[in-house]
Assembly symmetry: C2
Homo-oligomer: 183 residues x 2
């Protein structure tokens, strides 16, 4: 990648844009981790003055939120025909990867649209499994919390699957109890 000691506006044909900034930022994060992402380093990478970035993002928080949101966007919605436990696994496995890269990406505080999509998909799976709205909501929070903790602790896939299995077992047993209570 061509870079200069002093950024110059005339050298590169590609103009700055939100997309180009996000692409380069993603590259930085993939290579060196989120903690290595700084406005100054990102600007340097783009061959641009640091302040130029602020024409496209209000501040660093907004930029990181955009990165997190686009990572969450790439989480596919599981095949609705599969058993609900498999669907949940298919949803949470990539969710774990997204959280590992951007810890805030799926937090309840994240107000991005993608976090909402994942939540909607999760709630739909739980409701189709038989949980009512209130319990589906609490169950989703629990599943996401477990997934976030597994990401924070870098659990191996086998260990992640074990805990997820036990949590799904526990949720499933509330379904059986409800079914048994019904005539």
């Amino acid at each position: 990648m061509a870079r200069q000691a002093t950024p110059a506006s005339g050298t590169s044909g590609e103009r700055l844009s939100r997309e180009r900034i996000l692409e380069t930022a993603t590259g930085l994060v993939v290579q060196h981790g989120l903690e290595a992402l700084s406005m100054r380093r990102l600007a340097h990478e783009l061959d641009v003055w640091p302040m130029s970035l602020y024409r496209y993002f209000r501040d660093k928080d907004e930029l990181v939120a955009a990165l997190a949101d686009s990572a969450a966007q790439r989480i596919p919605s599981p095949d609705a025909a599969a058993p609900w436990r498999e669907q949940m696994h298919a949803l949470l496995d990539p969710a774990r990867a997204a959280i590992e890269r951007y810890p805030s990406s799926l937090s309840p505080q994240a107000n991005g649209t993608a976090a909402g999509h994942v939540r909607t998909a999760g709630l739909a799976i739980l409701q189709r499994a038989g949980l009512d709205e209130a319990n589906a909501s609490r169950a989703w929070q629990a599943l996401l919390a477990y997934t976030a903790g597994a990401a924070a602790f870098s659990l191996t896939t086998a260990d992640f699957d074990y805990g997820l299995g036990r949590l799904l077992d526990g949720l499933e047993s509330t379904l059986r109890d409800t079914a048994a209570a019904r005539p």
Copy 2:
């Protein structure tokens, strides 16, 4: 608290020490959160030059690790006479509070002695409940991951309890399966 624009060594009778540094640092974290803790601010609060802290802690990481460890140290070991689910709840509830303040305090990467004590207590509860060593270890990882996620998402106590209850249900059902398989 008396403070001066320029730190002076002669004014206060109390000499610097690891304990005094940790106390003041804890006060800062309690009042303003971990993200507000800086070596410079802490030194200012102690009426001392920033570099003086480095005589007691190799670097900021070591200081934060010491804070996290002492927070984990304050987690009591539950009453061994209580039912195992109650014991686990009594252990993880303060663990959640410790992680909320110091996210790294109980992570598997934390090499402090206190994190080890909590882990030992957790494993003992699970083994007394009937899990073998391998499963107790995986179950502990899952319980701690869930607790860390709940801390990161600032789940309410009711929501934390719901998810923990389901996870414990799931673990308990593996005990029943094992018992049923035995003659």
